[in-house]
Assembly symmetry: C2
Homo-oligomer: 197 residues x 2
């Protein structure tokens, strides 16, 4: 759409004087998208957070959709599950996701937006297919059922994130990391490796 491509695929751009501003906008955008969802996160509010003029956002990212795309370029950085003992897969998976969610607002933003925005949902489907599905395909006993098994894991993991970080159910938010691992790891382990339900 725009001449100035904001895609991260760009090989090596020369460092520009405005890189700090760009990063500031991106950080503010992530926070706002995470807190308010796509529609309520206005470009004006993001610009004010970044202490910049709204028109700058447009110049650097083309449009609101472009900004969103740049702000939610999530990489789950899945660990190498070929090196994980099969009986520990569930536990490692829970631990990895807890790290991801706690660490930054990117995933919260993605989840919130995926629910109101068509493009956001598409992005989540893609992340699921490219990153969680291969794991299931690797560790489950019947490759044909891998998509279903991965979907069940996604449901459990996203459901926890939903109640804990978005809806903020008090008992869900109060769970410790150890409790979550203890309860969820066996569930995921079963979804991924059990011979039959």
């Amino acid at each position: 759409m725009t001449e100035r491509a904001p895609t991260p695929a760009e090989p090596e751009a020369p460092p520009r004087r405005s890189d700090a501003t760009r990063a500031g906008i991106l950080a503010a955008a992530r926070e706002r998208f995470a807190a308010d969802g796509y529609e309520r996160a206005t470009i004006r509010a993001i610009a004010k957070d970044a202490e910049i003029d709204p028109s700058m956002v447009m110049r650097y990212y083309g449009s609101k959709e472009g900004l969103f795309a740049a702000a939610t370029s999530a990489d789950l950085r899945m660990p190498d599950f070929t090196r994980v003992p099969r009986e520990e897969v569930g536990q490692v998976l829970v631990g990895h996701f807890l790290d991801l969610w706690e660490d930054a607002g990117v995933l919260t933003a993605l989840l919130r937006v995926g629910i109101t925005n068509q493009a956001g949902a598409e992005r989540m489907r893609k992340i699921f297919a490219e990153q969680l599905l291969p794991v299931a395909r690797e560790v489950c006993p019947d490759p044909d059922a891998a998509p279903a098994r991965a979907a069940l894991c996604a449901a459990q993991l996203l459901g926890l994130a939903l109640t804990r970080y978005v809806l903020r159910f008090p008992p869900s938010a109060a769970l410790t990391r150890e409790e979550i691992t203890a309860w969820l790891a066996p569930t995921l382990q079963r979804y991924l490796t059990a011979e039959r339900p």
Copy 2:
């Protein structure tokens, strides 16, 4: 807020000539809220769906928030779990939720809106506390842990709804009712009745 109270608590209102219109608006609102979320579901669009003037929506429901409140007066109609054998609790719970989600768009609307809208999240917390938590308190072995156990069940059930009805992950949407029950019932059973994780 409004003189004309739209609360369902009103004991017995005399049947009005406009009841059909009111119901039409409510049905259209539910569909739009479920499909688009709170912000994108405009009063104008809802009115057009109901083949009515936007101002009628305002007159009957006071404001957009009032309309939303009326459109999402969800009652989970929980079955009586004192009559369910303890070892079948998980299965009955899954079945009941599948019935609820399939049957109407109310819950989809509620979920979508609970994620963007503050009042929506509050409503979901209330529904959780009033309807799912008592079940846990009744069947779990340690009443102190009932909130945590209920939260885990909510995470699993809402996560399934999220991936299946909102994000529409293909493998999740493709699961049959029987498969879902077979996989999820043991999980919920464990969350509710296991002595320890």
